[in-house]
């Protein structure tokens, strides 16, 4: 998964027979969510062609870090499917076990400029992970239904 300098973490795809998974590491919870959000955006469309012209505020709540991550990504999917909003990157101001707040930066889909990649149906709860290890590194994992 490519980086464009905006993420402070690293994200890569996980194999799955029918669907696709994402894993990421980052130095903080905020950076991890930004990294997963950017990775998710890269599954939906070629992010290099998405200009960060608009900001879309996002605030989600959840019961624990994992639930917060899933709901953030679900919000991103919802904006794509209902508003045709493509994300270039995310800026996450704060993540707690109960909520996350920040913005998605991107623009509306234009068929002439944006190549759609995967059509993601949903963010699953299968084997999701969002946690800090003993060394202070944050690890994330999520599977998407295709």
């Amino acid at each position: 998964m490519g980086r464009d300098g905006s993420e402070r973490g690293r994200c890569w795809k996980l194999p799955h027979t029918a669907d696709v998974g994402l894993a990421a590491v980052a130095p903080s919870a905020e950076a991890l969510l930004e990294t997963l959000s950017a990775g998710f955006a890269g599954l939906l469309a070629d992010r290099r062609a998405v200009r960060p012209r608009e900001e879309w505020p996002v605030r989600v709540t959840g019961a624990g870090f994992v639930s917060v991550m899933e709901r953030w990504l679900d919000e991103q999917l919802f904006l794509w499917e209902t508003r045709r909003f493509l994300t270039r990157r995310a800026r996450v101001d704060r993540v707690t076990p109960g909520a996350a707040q920040g913005v998605l930066l991107g623009e509306r889909y234009e068929a002439s400029r944006h190549a759609q990649l995967l059509a993601v149906k949903a963010v699953t709860k299968h084997a999701s992970r969002f946690e800090e290890d003993r060394d202070g590194t944050w690890h994330g994992r999520v599977y998407l239904d295709i």
Binding site: L118, K121, A122, K125, H126, Y143, I146
Partner: protein, 503 residues
């Protein structure tokens, strides 16, 4: 043993002589194409797992996630007899794809993950009275027309955009609502599973977010493995059943595979959250959060069932609108009224649903909540839920293969009721991940390869062609052969693709 990995063979004495005990990883062979996952495979299993398939269809070494998921499902409260997997089963999330589980309503659970995100994803088959020779001259025009009229991919520009009131009617009445608005024929409903309408649908349980996602998607197929295929009946394997279903050799038919689109996906997402909280409250220990569930008779379980039924109705309305669009596309291109083209719906099956059904358990008739996640009903002749015109033959079962080989029409058989709660496969089943398929086919022009076999393909997203290529799937011939041998579903007709529309 055909092939496989991690298997061992031992000979043990049993009544009447020596019995060969074969293993495939943790699976023990208990019949020619029947494998058992012992109850102790993982802690908490309440019943054994049972997998139907030849050894060539089973996961290979290091690919045992799907088998683990069969074991996980066996831990769900109220599960009866077995956690089942059909021959096309593969790694999903929560349930395996191709998984079937029946729960007692009294003490069992309903799991949104056991139905899947694409609630009432399914397949329908539309017959025509056309031959391949008749559509050959208009092949390109027909491809273009279908691609234009039935938007694939992430489309939200379907032909019937719903306001809130109309959305409620679709959620309550399903395909019937679509037919009443002119999207199809009254007789289509009789040839749709459950008449194209689930009772006890609760539109008010479908969130604003779900409605927003589905608002413009009626009449669209989506992406992934969804498709519209124009096919030809290549072989008729059961003449009597074929005749009953209106199929004959050389006949052009149209197969449609799609579901409840974004509306259904969001309903599942919403109720997974509800079910996860309910599971904790009711003391259900989840071995995978995607197995989140609620007791069938709890308020949360009932709320999910109402919303699931509403989303199922949306899916049937979607396939009904697509049926109408398909008829109109054929009529326009062939410049003949659709009625003259004999475009009769053969049947519509659901393969992502939970339904209350009567089955025999320990000699008694019991109502069970049967989850089918990537599995199709296959009820036999005489069953009251088989349409009257097919009741002497059995329920048509539609098994899509991959876009380069073949699909099948089968018919449900009596033995399936005891073996699999009247269930069978939903397709060939994936063998390779999307990434692996793309890598292994890098540089291969899939479109040209299909064209060599006289198959025209049109896809909104070209990279999908490699992901959906023949190599990515199990061998559909083996999948349906296994089901035929087990007497779960008999093969009736083999269909080969001519024209493929993908998302």
């Amino acid at each position: 043993m055909e092939r496989g990995t991690d298997e061992s063979t031992s000979i043990s004495e049993a009544e009447g002589g020596l019995v060969r005990q074969e293993r495939h990883g943790p699976l023990l062979r208990v019949g020619r194409d029947i494998w058992e996952l012992p109850i102790g495979h993982r802690p908490g299993m309440l019943v054994p797992g049972r997998i139907y398939g030849s050894e060539s269809l089973l996961p290979g070494e290091g690919e045992h996630e799907a088998i683990q998921q069969v074991a996980n499902v066996a831990t769900l409260p109220g599960i009866v007899r077995f956690s089942l997997a059909m021959p096309d089963f593969h790694w999903g999330y929560g349930f395996p794809i191709g998984g079937v589980a029946a729960m007692r309503p009294e003490d069992g659970v309903i799991s949104p993950g056991g139905v899947g995100f694409d609630i009432n994803c399914g397949v329908r088959l539309i017959a025509t009275n056309l031959s391949l020779e008749e559509i050959e001259p208009v092949r390109k025009a027909l491809t273009d027309q279908l691609f234009r009229d039935i938007p694939p991919g992430m489309a939200e520009d379907g032909p019937w955009r719903l306001d809130d009131a109309e959305c409620d009617r679709v959620l309550a009445d399903g395909a019937r609502c679509a037919v009443e608005r002119g999207w199809g024929l009254p007789e289509d409903l009789a040839r749709t599973e459950s008449g194209g309408r689930m009772e006890n649908a609760e539109p008010s349980g479908v969130s604003v977010r779900a409605r927003a996602r589905g608002r413009g998607q009626l009449g669209t197929i989506g992406s992934g493995n969804h498709f519209i295929e124009v096919q030809v009946v290549d072989r008729l394997l059961d003449a009597a059943a074929g005749r009953a279903f209106g199929l004959s050799r050389g006949q052009v038919v149209v197969m449609v595979h799609t579901g409840s689109r974004g509306l259904g996906h969001q309903v599942c997402t919403d109720y997974l959250e509800v079910a996860e909280e309910a599971a904790a409250r009711h003391g259900v220990a989840l071995v995978d959060r995607q197995l989140a569930c609620a007791p069938v008779r709890s308020p949360e379980g009932q709320a999910y069932l109402g919303a699931m039924n509403a989303a199922a109705n949306f899916a049937w309305a979607n396939r009904q609108v697509i049926t109408h669009s398909t008829r109109m596309a054929f009529a326009r291109v062939l410049a003949r009224p659709a009625e003259e083209l004999g475009m009769r719906l053969v049947y519509d099956v659901s393969h992502n649903m939970a339904k209350f059904e009567e089955h025999e358990v320990d000699g008694e008739r019991r109502t069970l909540c049967v989850h089918r996640k990537g599995a199709t009903r296959a009820f036999p002749a005489g069953h009251r839920e088989v349409p009257a015109e097919y009741r002497d033959v059995g329920q048509p079962v539609l098994v899509p293969g991959d876009m380069g080989t073949a699909s099948y029409v089968c018919v449900g058989l009596p033995d399936g009721m005891a073996l699999s709660w009247g269930s069978t496969c939903h397709g060939a089943g994936r063998r390779q991940s999307r990434t692996r398929a793309r890598k292994s086919l890098a540089g291969v022009d899939i479109r040209a390869r299909l064209a060599e076999r006289q198959i025209t393909v049109r896809a909104r997203n070209p990279r999908l062609l490699a992901e959906e290529a023949t190599e990515a799937y199990k061998d559909v011939e083996t999948v349906v052969r296994v089901l035929d041998d087990l007497k779960i579903a008999r093969r009736v007709a083999r269909l080969v693709p001519v024209l493929v529309i993908k998302g």
